[in-house]
């Protein structure tokens, strides 16, 4: 059982050494990358192993809080995703962050993130999940705010942390309630007693779901994820596409598995979860169609795909959701790293309308990016096709109207990805920086190529057996109504995108509602934060001053001040004298009252 502990604590030790010892040394990137590669090797070695181990973190009489490791298919599979994407992102960052002044801080942050994420995945105990849940939020805060001197980056980091905190408010309540219901915090011991009403269980599950809403950026807490694109692009690939944002899905699935799936079929909370996912998938896909920033298009697409996964979990088809998490991790990391390569080559140009013609300048990057697009739009034969098909199947089998929502999202996804690809990579270059773009070096295209292979083939059994969970019939294809709908959706989306955007120099469509993201961000900033939070804070402050400070205390101190005036006539009246007199006076008072 030593290997899993090394897997967990190696990145922490590396982060600590980098921060405390190496600090500004040029070694930090290499040490951090070596650690990520080592954890990948360990994760692969652990595949298929089961077992658990724990030590007491806090002991209070008979009550123990444990830090423990649980190895099973779910956790080992997820570790392969985390360390696989993590290692490739580390390698990519070696080149991407080469010229950054603070790359030591960046790689320390990455190592710390790897530690936190590993903790969530391996956790055998709910409190441990929560501990690492908070820590990933913190490392995400650090990395989004990497360029902290930029106002927008500093704001985005803060926003991400606060949105997650709002979700964690519910999450903590849920953990406490579930602790009360099951009497344990350890996943493997959890059982729902029959006396507990279904309403109580539903409430607890909903509270826990709040945590996933924050971390996996579901409506209405989705606003932080697009802003998180202020961080360096490899960070977006690792944290805000492949791993951390998927932690919500992972955690929900873990809870379902521990409590028993049968409890969730008739639970009110399940349909709330499914609908939240469905709505997020739809709303985010709509917003993605009108974004001009290449990273933001991908960010909204991530939201939308996370919506699919959450929907699957809500439909108690979590295996399909976890399988989609597995394939999505590879192709979305690929798309983000590809976008990073493009941004790097175009001198930090992120507007797709200032790109164009990159196919000729960067053929390798473009090819791999195209592979990612194919997987994302669920082109038959690619990994994304198999996993998305299973989610659509589940929605169809549940007989829920969510199937049609999901099908409509399946039209929108190819539409906005075609738009992105056509505008950014085809046609002629539309800016000087895009004209000067060069193919990136091997440290960058090698991870892209590996991810491209995984994006295409990870749906097939020889890779998908590493998936954290796998539904029956994964990787098989039967032509039925669901398949017809999804193929039709794909064709429709690609065709519309192609016809609308080929050869255009600016966006022919302008829908202000979608461009402004349904005005949700504006509503939060200007109404909720300014009017609700800040205004109520100011009002409370005012009453605090007026009532408690002004009347209550003011009255007292005026009385005292006037007696102080009296004293002044007798004595010096200064505070000094008063304080001493007071202190000794009190002691004398006790003495006299008690002893004489």
């Amino acid at each position: 059982m030593n290997l899993p502990w090394i897997l967990l604590f190696l990145p922490l030790v590396v982060a600590a050494v980098c921060q405390l010892v190496l600090r500004k040394s040029a070694l930090v990137p290499w040490v951090s990358t070596a650690s990520a590669l080592t954890t990948l090797v360990i994760s692969c070695m652990l595949l298929g192993r089961t077992g658990s181990a724990a030590f007491d973190w806090a002991t209070l009489g008979d009550f123990h809080l444990r830090i423990g490791i649980q190895l099973d298919r779910l956790s080992t599979g997820m570790m392969v995703v985390v360390t696989g994407v993590g290692a490739l992102v580390h390698v990519f960052s070696l080149a991407y962050m080469q010229d950054d002044d603070a790359k030591a801080r960046y790689f320390t942050g990455l190592a710390f993130f790897m530690f936190s994420m590993t903790g969530i995945v391996l956790a055998s105990d709910f409190i441990m999940t929560f501990i690492f849940w908070e820590l990933v939020g913190f490392s995400s805060y650090l990395l989004i705010g990497h360029w902290y001197q930029k106002e927008s980056a500093a704001d985005a980091a803060k926003k991400a942390f606060l949105c997650n905190r709002v979700g964690d408010f519910g999450f903590m309540i849920g953990i406490l309630m579930l602790w009360g219901i099951t009497g344990t915090l350890t996943f493997s011991d959890m059982e729902v007693p029959t006396e507990v009403s279904i309403g109580t269980l539903s409430a607890a599950v909903l509270c826990i779901f709040c945590g996933a809403v924050g971390k996996s950026a579901q409506v209405p807490l989705h606003v932080w994820l697009p802003d998180a694109m202020e961080g360096p692009t490899p960070v977006s690939a690792l944290i805000h596409a492949a791993t951390m944002v998927a932690a919500g899905v992972y955690m929900l699935f873990r809870v379902q598995m521990s409590l028993g799936f049968h409890h969730f079929h008739d639970l009110q909370a399940s349909s709330v979860i499914a609908w939240t996912g469905g709505i997020t998938a739809l709303v985010a896909a709509l917003m993605a169609t009108q974004q001009d920033d290449i990273k933001r298009v991908l960010a909204y697409s991530t939201l939308s795909q996370l919506g699919y996964m959450i929907m699957a979990v809500g439909l108690v088809a979590g295996e399909a959701g976890m399988f989609h998490l597995f394939t999505h991790a590879w192709f979305k990391a690929l798309l983000f790293l590809g976008a990073g390569a493009v941004i790097h080559a175009c001198h930090h140009e992120q507007d797709i309308w200032n790109m164009g013609g990159l196919l000729k300048k960067m053929p390798l990057t473009t090819t791999t990016f195209a592979a990612g697009c194919l997987a994302l739009v669920a082109f038959p034969g690619t990994s994304g096709f198999f996993s998305k098909e299973l989610i659509l199947d589940a929605a169809h089998a549940a007989g829920s109207p969510l199937f049609w929502v999901a099908a409509f999202v399946a039209v929108l996804t190819p539409f906005y990805m075609t738009r992105l690809f056509v505008v950014a990579f085809l046609g002629k270059h539309r800016s000087v920086s895009a004209g000067h773009a060069r193919e990136v070096g091997p440290l960058m295209w090698l991870p892209l190529a590996l991810l491209a292979i995984l994006s295409i083939f990870s749906g097939y059994a020889f890779i998908s057996h590493a998936s954290p969970a796998l539904p029956e019939h994964a990787g098989e294809f039967h032509f039925n109504m669901v398949a017809a709908v999804s193929l039709g959706a794909l064709g429709l989306g690609v065709l519309a995108g192609w016809l609308l955007y080929t050869g255009k120099d600016k966006d022919p469509v302008c829908i202000p509602l979608l461009r402004n993201r349904f005005y949700i961000d504006a509503f939060y900033d200007q109404r909720l934060v300014r009017y609700c939070q800040d205004a109520s804070a100011a009002i409370v402050h005012f009453f605090d001053e007026l009532l408690i400070n002004g009347l209550l205390v003011g009255g007292l101190s005026r009385t005292a001040a006037s007696s102080g005036n009296l004293l002044r006539k007798l004595q010096s009246g200064s505070l000094q004298a008063y304080a001493f007199a007071f202190g000794f006076g009190v002691i004398l008072v006790i003495y006299f009252t008690v002893f004489l």
Binding site: L60, I131, A157, M172, V196, S536, L575, F582, G583, V586
Partner: protein
């Protein structure tokens, strides 16, 4: 041995008055006390720590110190850690070193005496002794509207102490002894319910005022904003915990039924601390006001643990939770006040809107302040999280999913929103001070440095002694950070003392 721990700072105070070099003595004594305190934590079961000297025959009164349980050990540990950090990080105004360092030692000695005393009279008297220099330092060396702040805290805590005194005297009369150990043995059945209720009210209001329980809190923020750094560190970090310590030491074992009668009002008041004062904290425009209010706000969580203990006396989590959080809060707020003072010395302001981008010129300061802020927010890995999570678990200890949520659980759910509130104001402050574009005040600010670099910039007044000063600047902060990280990573370090 405990008597040495308590009287050493007091003797040093006298020596400083007589002309011994003030800073050196203060630092030396505090460092020695730290060693003594840490070794006490390792060997507190040994009777060699106890000390007793008869003062009066009738009624029997002893100048007695001892460790009745691990709680006293942890409070003593907190005191010696914060004291060393406070005397190391303070910079006395020219010519006032005697007052500055002497008072700091006096506060420390008083706090140690109060936490180590096993006799009711000295328990109370040592706390009063520590309050006097607190008032004086604010009134004489404070910033801003120092007179008003000093008056307010003096009157407020004075009244609180008198209410407390009434409660203690009543208690002593009923139990017929001043020995706190014997008092607890007398136990509850001899105290009739009506008297219990009355004593409980007096103790809650008296101790509560000292801990800034809502609505008796409004002395705290202005006093801390005005106080010189070591006083803010020592009072907010250590001395304020006296009230909580007193409730746990006396009120809980002696008047449990009386406290139960006040459970609902207490829950409402602690929500006042967390939510009402939380909102007040959000609206603060200056760092010192924000920190002062935040320390009031976080008291709500410790009261929640106490409320959980009142509601279910068999709760095994509540008392350790309260103690861990007391320790954690004491260390983290001391760190925050110490670093805030340093920020003011390098930028010349504490107004949040006047700052920005300080992390660029002072990365070490930014790093350490970041850790302190994250501790206050309750980030896992730092001590405050360990305390808070135990408090929440303690509040839900009696919940089993079959009955509905009880009042303590409902209060816990409401106070969980405070976790969001503290993130709002702490991150906003960090964002305004350290991130974003540099502004004039922060551009030339000097960072905390080790001795090889001499800080530059107009606002650092003691450039000639900068090397000496800056070495000392990092050490106290690192000492406090070490305490936060050690307990945060492995809370059993403290919890094992409570077994």
């Amino acid at each position: 041995m405990l008597a040495l721990l308590v009287f050493l700072p007091l003797a040093a105070f006298l020596a400083i008055l007589l002309g011994v070099p003030a800073r050196l003595t203060a630092v030396g004594v505090s460092a020695f006390n730290l060693v003594l305190g840490v070794s006490a934590a390792g060997t507190w079961h040994c009777s060699c720590w106890s000390f007793s000297l008869p003062v009066l025959e009738k009624p029997a009164l002893h100048l007695a110190f001892g460790f009745p349980d691990g709680m006293s050990v942890i409070m003593v540990l907190l005191t010696v850690i914060v004291t060393l950090a406070a005397v190391l990080s303070g910079t006395a105004p020219a010519g006032r070193e005697k007052l500055y360092f002497g008072s700091s030692l006096l506060i420390s000695g008083g706090a140690l005496g109060a936490f180590a005393a096993t006799d009711l009279f000295f328990f109370y008297a040592f706390h009063e002794l520590a309050l006097i220099p607190t008032f004086l330092m604010i009134g004489m060396l404070g910033r801003g509207d120092r007179r008003a702040a000093a008056w307010k805290i003096t009157i407020y805590l004075g009244l609180g102490s008198i209410v407390l005194l009434a409660g203690l005297v009543w208690l002593a009369n009923l139990t017929g002894t001043y020995d706190m150990g014997k008092m607890v043995l007398v136990r509850t059945h001899t105290i009739d319910p009506a008297a219990q209720k009355g004593i409980a009210a007096l103790l809650l209001v008296g101790f509560g005022t000292l801990v800034s329980l809502f609505p008796f809190h409004s002395w705290a923020a202005p006093a801390y904003a005005s106080a010189p750094a070591p006083v803010a560190m020592l009072h907010a970090g250590v001395l304020k915990k006296f009230g909580l310590y007193g409730l746990l030491r006396l009120a809980i074992p002696l008047v449990p039924h009386g406290l139960q009668a006040w459970l609902t009002p207490l829950l409402i008041l602690l929500l006042g601390n967390v939510l009402w004062v939380g909102f007040v904290t959000i609206s603060q425009k200056r760092l010192d006001g924000m920190l002062g209010n935040s320390s009031v706000m976080h008291m709500g969580y410790i009261f929640l643990a106490i409320a959980a203990l009142i509601a279910f006396p068999a709760n095994p989590l509540a008392q350790p939770a309260a103690i861990v959080l007391m320790f954690a809060h004491g260390v983290s707020i001391a760190l925050l006040f110490g670093l805030a003072d340093r920020i003011e010395r390098s930028t010349g302001t504490l107004d949040l809107s006047d700052m920005g981008g300080l992390a660029k010129s002072a990365p070490k300061l930014a790093f350490l302040f970041g850790i302190a802020a994250m501790a206050a927010i309750g980030l896992p890995g730092l001590a405050n999280f360990a305390g808070e999570i135990l408090v929440f678990l303690a509040a839900f200890w009696s919940y089993n999913g079959q009955a509905g949520l009880g009042p303590v659980q409902i209060a816990c759910i409401f106070s969980l929103w405070g976790v969001v509130i503290s993130a709002v104001y702490m991150l906003r402050a960090y964002r305004n001070i350290f991130q974003g574009r540099s502004v004039k005040t922060t551009e030339s600010a000097a960072d905390l440095t080790l001795s090889e670099q001499i800080p530059q910039g107009p606002s650092v007044k003691t450039t000639e002694s900068a090397a000496d000063l800056t070495l000392a600047e990092q050490i106290p902060a690192l000492l406090l950070v070490l305490a936060l990280v050690a307990v945060g990573l492995y809370p059993n370090l403290l919890l094992n003392l409570l077994k």
